[in-house]
């Protein structure tokens, strides 16, 4: 077995040192009825050559973005990943290392995560960031739990225009904590501000808003924040397409208490869903209540600057059942990926990329708007995706587009908003050329005729 270096003479020597005749003696504490007589049925052992060939064939059974144009977003986006990102995350002492509990041997991870926290703080314009969460949904759920615990309230307002999957996760997390979720109605593709005004009351502990929302539309965060601030209700903004932070005023600019979401766009391919990268940034008053790991700067005994995991008393390994969150392992290597990505594109690159996404999506909007058989229900400022309705069944349109090497989402928004029959989100990034968009337009003209 090529991952096990022990020779038979090593084995013999070790057994002699232990004082046993055979290895089975070490397993005597396991009741014999539980010892397997047959190995688990997992098939014959394969060589590396056979495994790589098999998996290569398997991967080719998929229709990948190399085979077809991808117009899917919603929860993950296809952006270019500069070569350097993979190069750095392939460095063994980054990817094989454990959580940096021993700072003397972990300054590489610690400093990189400190940089990640710094970038996220400045991107969101908040006071602090943690070292990462699993994904955008668990980050939002943990933010809700954190804020409600701090405010000793049990009810959260949630925008009805959160992505349906995000909303589902919030319900899953809320139920066992006895948290009530009250949905804020929408109007013409964005949050209905008057309805929000009516819903805010002293019982409400926080309000969770996604922007760009599930239709891709940018919410009026200034207005929403002022409605909430007036009643001293904590505000949580969720940003799933983090590229939007390169072009749009960040929620921190409008005094949001928490900004959290998904940063998969920063240097990670969609990878059929994961891992992505959750993040959580907070205003000062929540710093000591944040879940997850936090890296801080300090000095060592020689007064050398260095980095450590800090504010550890919040965490589960110390607080156990009193901890506000159970998170242990997070997505550190993904945070490193994002840090390398953001370092490489820099301030100017991220702005340019965000603008490029905006322009490509708006070109697509302009081209599709005139296609017969397409209705665009909401025409408000959006970032890089928007909702379209077809005059034919969505499954039919999707299959027809697949025949033409184009991928659109499997999510029919009619499943979540019954009045939006045959509707789907189309997403456009820097990866979608004008030619691709023109082909999509022409294909839809033909299919919807």
């Amino acid at each position: 077995m090529r991952f096990i270096p022990t020779t038979s003479s090593d084995k013999k020597n070790m057994m002699d040192s232990i004082g046993i005749e055979n290895v089975e003696e070490l397993f005597r504490s396991i009741p014999s009825e539980y010892l397997l007589q047959e190995p688990p049925g997992i098939g014959e052992a394969m060589s590396e050559q056979d495994v790589t060939q098999f998996l290569s064939e398997l991967s080719k059974q998929n229709v990948s973005f190399d085979d077809a144009s991808c117009f899917i977003g919603e929860i993950a986006w296809y952006h270019y990943v500069p070569s350097i990102v993979q190069s750095v995350t392939s460095m063994p002492s980054f990817y094989t290392a454990y959580t940096p509990y021993q700072p003397e041997l972990s300054q590489g991870t610690l400093e990189a995560i400190y940089e990640f926290q710094s970038y996220m703080v400045h991107l969101t314009k908040m006071d602090a960031s943690n070292a990462s969460m699993y994904d955008g949904a668990s980050a939002a759920a943990e933010a809700m739990i954190m804020v409600l615990a701090a405010n000793r309230k049990k009810t959260a307002l949630v925008s009805s225009l959160l992505h349906p999957y995000l909303k589902k996760v919030l319900y899953t997390y809320a139920l066992p904590r006895n948290i009530n979720l009250v949905e804020v109605p929408s109007d013409d593709g964005s949050i209905n501000h008057e309805a929000l005004q009516k819903l805010v009351s002293d019982d409400i502990g926080c309000c969770i808003v996604q922007s760009p929302n599930t239709f891709g539309i940018i919410e009026d965060l200034a207005e929403i924040s002022s409605i909430l601030k007036e009643r001293k209700i904590a505000s949580i903004a969720v940003v799933l397409e983090s590229f939007s932070l390169g072009l749009l005023q960040p929620p921190g600019e409008y005094d949001f208490d928490v900004v959290c979401g998904e940063a998969q766009s920063f240097g990670m391919y969609p990878q059929f869903g994961g891992p992505g990268l959750g993040y959580m940034c907070v205003a000062e008053k929540y710093i000591r209540k944040m879940p997850g790991r936090i890296i801080g700067k300090t000095v060592d005994v020689d007064n050398q600057p260095c980095y450590v995991m800090t504010l550890r008393a919040r965490e589960q390994d110390i607080r156990r059942n009193k901890a506000t969150s159970n998170i242990c392992t997070n997505n550190a290597l993904c945070a490193l990926q994002a840090t390398v990505f953001l370092s490489t594109v820099g301030q100017k690159g991220l702005r340019d990329l965000a603008k490029r996404n905006f322009n490509h999506a708006h070109y697509a909007f302009q081209e599709l708007n005139d296609v017969e058989g397409i209705t665009i229900p909401y025409k408000k400022p959006f970032f890089n995706e928007f909702l379209v309705q077809f005059n034919k069944p969505l499954d039919y349109v999707r299959d027809e587009l697949l025949q033409r090497d184009m991928l659109i989402s499997k999510n029919n928004f009619a499943d979540y908003f019954s009045y939006l029959k045959n509707s789907v989100i189309l997403s456009f990034t820097e990866m979608n050329s004008k030619a691709e968009i023109d082909l999509l337009r022409d294909a839809l003209k033909e299919v919807l005729k």
Partner: protein, 495 residues
């Protein structure tokens, strides 16, 4: 080696960049006409640096880390085994990486086959009936598993009465934290001197309020719960469920299965047992396996639950169509996407490599190695448990002279080029040093570790200052953690 590496912010200059936009034929600028000016970002504080500076920065940072390739990484409970290069390679195939979680099922048949087959293999390995691959990490798996328990009792109309999860005092901190997150009260059960469940304490705590118990087996002292059969019987007679924390599954991989021992729910730590890298703290994956009676509560979506209509296909999978389904009584969705897919690809490659021939060698060698280290060190450090251990051994610094602690030993080990073991855990053993060599460690490296440990014990008597001032041979030395928390600096500020 460079010890202090400046942040990239310090190298920033507006003329520098590591990126150039690609060519596009869409040249119209829609921002002015389509976005209210108030909504356009005015300021963005990120560094501008060249690619070579990024490359050097992170390369130099990586040299300050200790990784599995640096040497023995005997962190108990963490299973720091070698991470095969092949795993990293296959996870990066374009056909995997460049697929979207919202693609229609008929365009991702390769992915769905892989996940379905992996579920099946995990069922075989653990003795469970079905798996969800969604949980993002061990603690996320625990949360999911306890939600399943909650749903199970809700379905039986006992949700209001079954409010307690029992947890041994030797358990990982995530166990009680996860049980509380899933809406339960936690009651601690006493442990015996070997860290096993104290049966009297268990009987005393059992009541019709108990929903279940969370057990790590082997437990956190590295001992197998020899009374597991009786524990399972007691719980099941009481109508309660058994939850298996898979953190220590490596010890019994291919040798015994939690499903056969009466566990109703199992979570696995893919990044421990199944060789995927720890990444400096993640990403991991924490699949959850269940027995038949809990399948209908699994989180959405689920692929290919045991069903006559789905047969395990051979290599020719084009004809098969896998479907993402939702179980009728599902606890709901637990994450944005469906799984940490690329982590699972690595685990799949690993299991294919082990195969039926080799899988038992993992547990055997992991246990042999741990017992070897224990045998060689038990006369030098206090060994609170005389019996053979499983995949990890717990020694204690409590009997050392001159006020030497487990922390001092750990720090001194760094000077000898080793990552220290887990210390101060499990909590039931004072000054604990928990050593897990894993099956991928060589005898030569373990012998060097043993020699280093013996030398350190001798130093603790002859020259304790060496330990108290350690480490001296690392990029930085002991840190001022009080200052870190007091003068909180957790993000670089614009100067």
């Amino acid at each position: 080696m460079k010890k202090n590496i400046e942040l990239l912010y310090a190298l920033s200059h507006e003329e520098k960049t590591g990126y150039k936009l690609p060519y596009t034929e869409i040249t119209q600028d829609y921002v002015n006409e389509s976005l209210p000016n108030d909504w356009v970002r005015k300021e963005l504080f990120l560094p501008n640096v060249s690619e070579v500076e990024v490359a050097r920065h992170f390369f130099n940072l990586s040299k300050l880390n200790y990784g599995v390739e640096d040497g023995m990484y005997p962190l108990g409970s963490c299973t720091m085994k070698y991470n095969p290069k092949m795993n990293e390679h296959v996870a990066q195939y374009d056909g995997f990486q460049k697929t979207h979680p919202l693609q229609a099922d008929n365009t991702v048949s390769g992915n769905l086959f892989l996940l379905f087959d992996l579920e099946d293999m995990l069922c075989e390995i653990t003795g469970m009936d079905a798996f969800t691959l969604s949980p993002a990490a061990g603690a996320h798996g625990e949360f999911t598993g306890i939600l399943l328990i909650r749903k199970y009792f809700e379905d039986k109309g006992e949700a209001d009465t079954r409010t307690i999860i029992l947890i041994p005092e030797s358990a990982h901190g995530t166990n009680p934290a996860s049980a509380v997150a899933a809406g339960f009260d936690v009651e601690e059960i006493k442990s015996t001197a070997t860290g096993e469940v104290d049966l009297d304490s268990l009987r005393e705590k059992l009541s019709d309020k108990v929903a279940g118990i969370m057990l790590t087996n082997p437990n956190t002292t590295g001992m197998f719960e020899s009374n597991i059969k009786e524990i399972a019987a007691l719980l099941h007679e009481n109508g309660s469920l058994l939850y298996y924390d898979g953190a220590n599954l490596n010890a019994i991989l291919g040798i015994a299965r939690p499903g056969d021992m009466g566990f109703d729910i199992v979570h696995l730590n893919i990044h421990k047992t199944f060789s995927t890298p720890h990444g400096g703290g993640g990403p991991g994956a924490g699949p959850v396996g269940v027995k038949e009676h809990l399948i209908s509560y699994l989180p959405e979506p689920i692929i290919g639950i045991e069903d006559d209509s789905i047969e395990l296909p051979d290599m020719d999978i084009e004809e098969k169509l896998y479907r993402m389904n939702r179980m009728d009584k599902s606890i709901g969705r637990i994450r944005l996407t469906d799984s940490s897919f690329s982590v699972l690809v690595k685990a799949y490659a690993y299991i294919l490599t082990l195969g039926e021939e080799h899988i038992h060698e993992v547990g055997e060698n992991a246990v042999l190695n741990a017992n070897y280290i224990k045998a060689m060190l038990k006369d030098f450090l206090y060994s609170p448990i005389a019996l053979p251990c499983m995949h990890e051994c717990v020694l204690s610094a409590s009997k050392l002279e001159n006020g030497i602690t487990a922390l001092d030993i750990s720090k001194r080990l760094m000077d000898y080029g080793f990552h220290p073991p887990t210390n101060y855990f499990p909590l039931i053993i004072p000054e604990a040093l928990m050593i897990e060599p894993t099956e991928t460690e060589t005898k030569e490296e373990m012998d060097r570790f043993i020699t280093a440990m013996k030398t350190i014990v001798r130093e603790s008597k002859e020259n304790p200052a060496l330990l108290k001032s350690a480490p001296t041979n690392t990029p930085i030395r002991r840190t001022n953690d009080t200052k870190a928390a007091k003068d909180l600096d957790i993000a670089y500020k614009r100067r």
